[in-house]
Amino acid sequence: MEGLRAALEKSIASRGLSLTPDEALKVASWVGRMPTPVELHLFDTMWSEHCSYKSSRRLLSVLPTNSPDVTLGPGEDAGAFRFAEHAGKCWDVVVAHESHNHPSQVLPVEGAATGVGGIVRDVYCMGATVTGVMDMLRFGDPLGPAGSRVRSIARGVVNGIWQYGNALGVPNQGGDTCFHPGYDDNCLVNVVAMGVVESSRLVHSRVPEAAHGEPYVLVLVGKPTDSTGFGGATFASADLDEGGLRAVQVADPFLKRVVSIANAAALDFLFESGASFGFKDLGAGGIACVSSEMAAAGGMGVELFLDEVPTAVEGLPPEVIACSETQERYGLAVPERLAARILAIYNEDYEMPKLHPGAGAALIGRFVDDPVYRVWCRGTEAACAPVEAITRGIHHERPWREAPITAPGMPSREFSPAQDISRMALSLSGCSRKPLFSYYDCEVQGIALFRPGEADASVSLPVPGCMAGLAVSGAGNPWIGELDPFLGGASAVAEAVRNVVAVGATPLAATDCLNYGSPEVPEVMWQFRRGLEGISEACKAFGFTGGPLPIVSGNVSFYNQTPAGRAIPPSPVVAVFGRISDASKAVDISLKEPGNLLVLFGPRRGELGGSLYAREFCGGSGGPPPGFRPAEEREMAGEILEWISAGRARACHDISEGGMALAALEMILADSDAGGCGIELSCSCDAIALCAENAGYLVEVRPGDLPPQMPGFASVIGTVTGDGSLSGPGWRLEVSLLRPAWADRLASVVWREE
């Protein structure tokens, strides 16, 4: 026993595994001997935090995951919900959400590119057409002590996103970008993908029931296997250091495009054949994970022949072939009788081996009734373990300790509207995101109704010929999260919901990515638990279709900290998806006509904690952050949806960073080419009225369209003018003078070296 432990410890050290000796002993007891290298690497991946959720799984159960719209909740590669009926067919939207934080910090271009590449595979493998991606980005302070590196990372990440997404032909739906010094040493790159599939053609990530009755084989599709990304999941589950370079994968969007088109042809063939089949993308843990998970999910075993795996180089050790995370690969579980035609689609119709040496499809394994995971390589058995042991998982109970923060009160200060609003607009939080979006192809596929920046949520018409619009927005405010981790979670949901509601779409589902420091630190664990509670509370408040707003897919990202142990601010990031059945009714944020009225939803409150105003002018001291008021939020959202549905709202913008002041300013700035509209506020214009960031909306309404009885939380606070300025009693801001600097600010800071 001691000898075995010593051998395992030696193996762990020499292989750079993150398994603990106790975990390795557990593996040894299941296989009944010293584990093989393939087994050690397989369990190392499967039991990494990234794959096993060993610190978080039980806590995640507080999240609501079901509603009448959900067709597939968390558990497979992506979640799905009912979206529309069109021409006699039902369509689902498929969504997935992931982080690519550590890879993006060490190799920003490749990290962000493979982030896009990985998340679209999760949606493609459900049988869907991918119709959008978006990234929620958190960078350090580009003007701070780490500025030069932060800027270079930001540029690299944006390059990675456009180089991949544009070539793949998936429209970018925007997302959001924050700059906070807490991310100086650990950026966050959260990525969401969405797609549509006919409900009857949703494919599952498992070998089907039919495999008990006839022979089924595993077909590996895509790029030839190499050693890239070997140990990637483990890398993502440890403190960040620069030693992880080899664990970052290499992206190939061209090959992905070809594989995707060929996949569509293969799926068409399989559906026409009437045979049932399984389809799953290769991500963390590569071939080893995809084969064992597909087998286990179908209650079967699998025999894998590594010699049949096309490789890019000769002589790769079996554990590398089995566990590397080479990109652009999928696994198909199909009846053996159809395998030849499947191989021909990839290898002949689409000529994949000619387009990229070694690429294509190959038969690499077969599913067996005996629930054993067996790997053969060069005539010897490289792994043999009960399938169920591999996927059974592992759990850690992590201690937690409260670490509340008392927000310092706001100092008194004279507020000068025109000057202060200008400064907020030119801050890194307030300035235009267009320099970033202009790298992205937002219009490929021809489905964009509202591009990023035009409205609070991006809206597309993903089902050809169908009038239903899919609205999507992502949010997560680190300045609120660091003051109150509960509100960090709740406000992420609430903000994303408001964005979707503001275009007129009913929120139907959400995804989350929970970015935190080390779960081994009790204070971080407390932040995590509070964040989950916040998300859960908010989701319960925002059910619109009977039941809560369900979280249908998501990801936990721990260990976002430097080797010195400084964790990022608690950063739950939430994406919300909504439907507007008649997309012709959707509204953007740009002002339409002088003479209209501006209506404020949500009375302003003196909760400036974490606000842009407090950060710019009060050294961050603003008292408590805006509270979460579920009943009021829900009621306001319902009213906004009604106004938009009735055609009453000509423009609508939710109130977020920079308060009502920046919301109003953005409505003027959005009218960029058409020009001319301005806003004259008739309300009192103190710092709280203009800069508080508690929940609310601004709505442009024609005078004749005001309802006879306004809801209690709504009031007319100004008019739309034709002079292009933002003004109030005794002050005026000439927006045309501000516009060039506002439009160029991000480029002049982040791209200054170019």
């Binding site: 061209f254 119709d349 192809d441 480029a747």
Partner: protein, 271 residues
């Protein structure tokens, strides 16, 4: 009567074939997406063909260069020679240039290039909306015959979209051969005079060029992404922006539809 068939050629790496086919269908035509290796036979039975946007063959060597050498392009060249309409959009335009089908002054030789964007203070990819107008004489083209006279807003998205010709090639030289097809302009239709109205630094503000016969058009902006009015950004300036704000209907043709409707009329499928 069956609707005239238009081939949309899908190379490895094409990524705009579906919306291009949709735009053709909306104009009353029948569009078929044909794989590059499915053989010339399928293409030669079509009345016209479109090379859609994307990154064919990963932009290896130069954008469009590998696709231009594929056997399928012989069938496309035969189509062009017989006077049938051929359109290349974005990467499709790059392929037409690399194959020598445009400007086509000396058939078979490459006489132009689509060079990297030349934009002040920025490199790489740029996407956005630009205005174009039909160049004088270009309405002889079956793709442009019914395009309206003023500024037409179209989206663009590329890293290499700057038309370049041999040093010393004058505008007169181009005009005398009927090369200018579409020109970048300002929203009132006046000449672009550089960035941002000319979004990539293209020579003579060229957004699209024709062969002498006018039946082959290579253009960088994407008409298929503006085939419907709802695809126009709500805050866009100019008359199309005004139309967009006034009508939210989802079934009204947009500024890019003119090309496909022109083709439909030419092929006798117009409504």
């Amino acid at each position: 009567m069956s609707r005239p068939g238009v081939a949309v050629i899908q190379f490895p790496g094409s990524n705009c074939e579906r919306e291009t086919a949709r735009a053709l269908e909306s104009a009353g035509l029948s569009a078929t997406i044909i794989r590059w290796n499915e053989g010339a036979r399928l293409i030669s039975s079509c009345h016209a063909c479109v090379l859609p946007g994307g990154f064919s063959f990963q932009d290896r060597i130069r954008a469009g260069a590998v696709a231009a050498k594929e056997p399928v392009m012989e069938a496309v060249a035969a189509m062009a020679d017989s006077g049938r309409p051929v359109l290349g959009i974005c990467n499709g335009a790059q392929i037409l240039v690399e194959s020598g089908l445009v400007p086509g002054w000396a058939p078979g030789s490459v006489e132009a290039a689509l060079a990297a964007n030349d934009i002040p203070g920025r490199s790489g990819y740029l996407s956005g909306w630009a205005f174009v107008r039909v160049a004088e004489g270009a309405s002889r083209s079956p793709w442009l015959a019914e395009a309206p006279g003023g500024a037409i807003p179209l989206p663009f998205a590329h890293a290499e979209g700057r038309f370049e010709f041999a040093q010393g090639t004058s505008l007169d030289h181009l005009i005398s051969r009927g090369t200018p097809g579409l020109l970048y302009c300002r929203r009132d239709g006046s000449p672009a005079l550089g960035f941002p109205a000319n979004p990539n630094g293209s020579s003579f503000s060229l957004a699209g060029i024709l062969n002498p016969g006018g039946n082959v058009l290579a253009m960088m902006p994407h008409p298929e992404r503006a085939a419907m009015l709802w695809q126009v950004p709500p805050a866009l300036g100019g008359s199309w922006g005004g139309l967009r704000r006034a009508s939210r209907r989802l079934d009204v043709p947009g500024p890019g539809a003119a090309l496909f409707l022109s083709l439909a009329t030419f092929l006798g499928a117009g409504s």
